[in-house]
């Protein structure tokens, strides 16, 4: 079987309406990798949350600032890097949305959803100019019946 390799990069300005463009790429890539619609949807959701966070929290809705997303598909392994131009944050300060005091809060679930739908979620603050979120997922191909 041919080992698929793909790299797609997209840079958007920090407008919420641009999130869909990145999400669609994620879902399309998953479907081309032979993943079922449901699985593709959840990967798309994780990417959506990552891009939304980059726009809202990273770039503070400054439309002059960019969010850059790089998708890499190597065989069944998908990695997604989402970079913003903000000032970073402390992941340890992100509250647990399942904790009783936080359950009824109106925000704070984005990172939790990313961690739920992807195999790994890591942050890199070491490069200049912002935060780089790296998520990975081993995609399971649909088996033909």
């Amino acid at each position: 079987m041919e080992r698929r390799s793909e790299r797609i990069e997209i840079t958007i300005s920090s407008r919420f309406e641009n999130i869909e463009l990145v999400q669609v790429i994620a879902e399309h890539l998953c479907e081309h990798a032979g993943v079922d619609d449901d699985a593709a949807h959840w990967v798309g959701m994780a990417v959506r949350e990552g891009v939304a966070n980059a726009i809202k929290h990273g770039n503070r809705l400054d439309v002059a600032k960019k969010v850059n997303t790089v998708f890499r598909l190597e065989g069944s392994r998908l990695s997604v890097e989402i970079s913003d131009q903000g000032t970073g944050f402390d992941p340890a300060e992100v509250s647990d949305p399942l904790s009783p005091p936080n359950l009824m809060k109106t925000s704070g679930r984005g990172i939790f959803y990313m961690k739920t739908f992807m195999d790994s979620v890591d942050y890199d603050f070491s490069f200049a100019g912002g935060t780089r979120l790296v998520m990975t997922k081993m995609l399971e191909q649909q088996t033909e019946s």
Partner: protein
Amino acid sequence: MKTSSRNVNGVEIIKLEGKITIGAGDSQLRDVITNAVKEGKNHILLDMKDVSTIDSSGIGELVGAYTTVTNRGGKLKLIHLPGKVTDLLQVTQLITVFEVYEDESEAIGSF
């Protein structure tokens, strides 16, 4: 997001159609609930059948809507939840907060 409302036996049924996502539908949901409460409607049934996409911001607004209505002594319930919305509520344990129905008569009778 589009909304439409009708009242059945004192229950305001608000149908939501389209996206409830950050920057598209999330604030609209907040506004429609705020307006309903201002008009004295405190028995609200959100029909989610035609919600196409919801994200964490949309889930947050659902939670906010629930809190807004219940803090005023009212009740907010959900009907016709799409499977993926159910999944998002389940993983964050919010499915235990909301009363969810599939049958409208049963939902209206529960208020």
